[in-house]
Amino acid sequence: MVTMTYGEAAKNALHEEMQRDPTVWALGEDLRRGGVFGQYKGLPELYGPDRISDAPISEAAIMGVAVGAALSGTRPVVEMRFADFALCAVDELVNQAAKARYMFGGQAKVPIVVREPMGMWRSSAAQHSQSLESWYTHIPGLVVVCPSSPVDNYGLLKSAIRCDDPVVYMEHKNLWALEGEVDNNDPLPLGRCRFLRKGEDITLVSWSATVHEAMAAAETLTGEGASVEVIDLRTLWPWDKERVFDSVKKTGRLIVAHESVQAGGFGAEIAATVSDVLFGDLKAPVKRLGAPRVPIAYAPPLEDTVRVTAVMIAECARALMKE
């Protein structure tokens, strides 16, 4: 049992995977200085400039080079710095990485991990704060992962690196310093959710930083006598439908909470699927809690207007439990 931060957990995972597999290498801007969030600190000294590689501010080239290098026998870990910047490389991710295996009839796979730090963080405003995970769930060929804790960031990054598919790996910028216990050295399975709390009355599904809001809400609700189940989805595609179904069958109530814009968010996919499959088991309508469809503002009070908070989740849950 070791305590480490969310950022250190990812660094340790990458370090161990690079040690295990000489074809793994990382490329991105400022990696030789340890990465913009320090998430590569120490690795340049251990692995040299070939395997922890700097890059020009050319996101499209970083992603496109990774695709070519993945088609040629290496396993690149791509650092996009901010998920917002990965939009400069959407052709390379969506038209190339996600399509190459299919359109070339399975002649090759594209084993890349695309690290896209996401989410609201310290007044970063409209171009450095977005949560765009739902976009990638829409693209056949991609796996989408959004870890919420050190233990998951460690185990899921390991699995993402070992996975032969292109994985969009979205770490939340506000979680880098979060400490937690990492209790194993093994990869964690992609596509499996984690039950953070078992309960009987209502199911809260979330991912990334909003998981911590859901847990805080559950704490409050438990104090009020409710029994709350909290599921951290961890992988958005493929999402762990069966376990979510099992939970909602039991509780009959579901709230999906996420930081990203609610309209067209991945909560809509979960809500629609659960409403369709479990219509007869539901005691209340499935609820989504996401951000309003506005860009993220700079001033903290304005920024806060788009946040999904524990208070909002608890309030929504109380209303549902009256039904």
């Binding site: 050319s58 496109g64 990774a66 070519g68 290098a69 088609l71 040629s72 359109m103 009839g105 493929p238």
Partner: protein, 338 residues
């Protein structure tokens, strides 16, 4: 001393066996494209095809200097490149017709034709996208300490997209074993490239990024063969990336469906006289090669590609479950499509 291109072959030290092979391969590409156009007319190719008729010299001049394990990444106009890299035309034609046994099992078609077994990493439907993929392949070659070379061939329209700058810069910064060849046919889709391009053109831009760059007549396969041979030798020796701008002319429309109304008929007719096959045939005839030997290349190529087309027509459609295969391992749509 620079040999006079009009001088007899012996005076230019031409390797006649090599040039006869080039002549034969250019005819095979021409005949493949003609068969593909026929398949389009007969509505057996339903998607877009971009014929390379008139540009065969570049496919042959470049690919004949690449080893099978060297990498090539191509464009939407990639049939000739793929054939010249060593792919099997039967599998290629089946792919164009979307049939079982196609290079991509009928899932890619003309614009995504690929044969990884001969180092051909795919035609690409997005202009300039192959430049990054080539830089990436070259990066992997360098990381692995191999002596292979990665090459991309793209059109002159590609120099106005970001990957031209980003990919060439990358290749130079990391001194990668990459050859970039611009197949400069003067048109970006159906628009004159010169009308939409500032500055002095592809080679000047490449030079500005620090790549040794040269202009070659891409319809003179003898000259291009030499230029590519020298460039590949320098790259393989660790000399870093190089750039060749090969001037050519597309003798058909942009796609099989393009009536080519934007070019004067006289210009196209004049260009046919400069076609790389005609020019090499003339050089070979001047060098004493018999006309019937050259005619046999044409006849054999047409016969071969007619048979290839007949085979593709008779081939079955792929099984329907193929639509769900080779998407991804985690979240495999055969179990998890919705």
């Amino acid at each position: 001393m620079t040999a006079d291109p009009r001088a007899p072959a012996a005076a230019r030290n031409l390797d006649l066996d090599r040039l006869l092979a080039h002549h034969k391969l250019m005819w095979r590409i021409r005949a493949f494209e003609e068969a593909a156009l026929r398949a389009n007319t007969e509505k057996l190719v339903l998607g877009a095809i971009h014929p390379s008729i008139g540009q065969e010299g570049i496919a042959v001049g470049v690919c004949s200097n690449l080893r099978t394990d060297d990498i090539l990444a191509s464009t939407h106009r990639g049939h000739g490149h793929t054939l010249a890299k060593g792919a099997n035309p039967t599998a290629m034609m089946r792919e164009l017709l979307g049939r079982e046994g196609g290079t991509s099992h009928g899932k890619g078609g003309s614009m995504h034709i690929a044969d990884f077994s001969v180092g051909m990493l795919g035609a690409n439907g997005v202009v300039a996208a192959n430049i990054h993929i080539t830089a990436g392949a070259a990066h992997a070659i360098k990381l692995r300490g191999e002596d292979r070379v990665a090459c991309s061939i793209f059109g002159d329209g590609a120099i106005n997209r970001g990957p031209f700058l980003e990919g060439l810069n990358w290749a130079k910064v990391f001194e990668l074993p990459a050859l970039f060849v611009c197949e400069d046919n003067g048109y970006a889709s159906t628009t004159r490239t010169a009308d939409m391009t500032a500055g002095k053109g592809p080679a000047a831009r490449a030079e500005a990024i620090g790549l040794p760059a040269m202009e070659v007549d891409g319809n003179d396969v003898v000259a291009l063969d030499e230029a590519v041979r020298d460039a590949v030798a320098a790259i393989r020796a660790g000399g870093g990336p190089r750039f060749i701008n090969a001037k050519t002319y597309r003798l058909t429309g942009h796609t099989a469906a393009d009536p080519d109304g934007y070019r004067a008929r006289d210009d196209v007719a004049a260009a046919w006289k400069r076609c790389p096959i005609t020019r090499l045939a003339q050089a070979l005839a001047d060098a004493g090669v018999r006309g019937d030997q050259l005619a046999a290349h044409e006849r054999d190529a047409i016969e071969e590609m007619d048979a290839v087309y007949d085979d593709a027509k008779a081939a079955p459609w792929p099984p329907l479950d193929r639509a769900f295969a080779d998407v991804q391992d985690i979240g495999d749509p055969r179990k998890d499509a919705y």
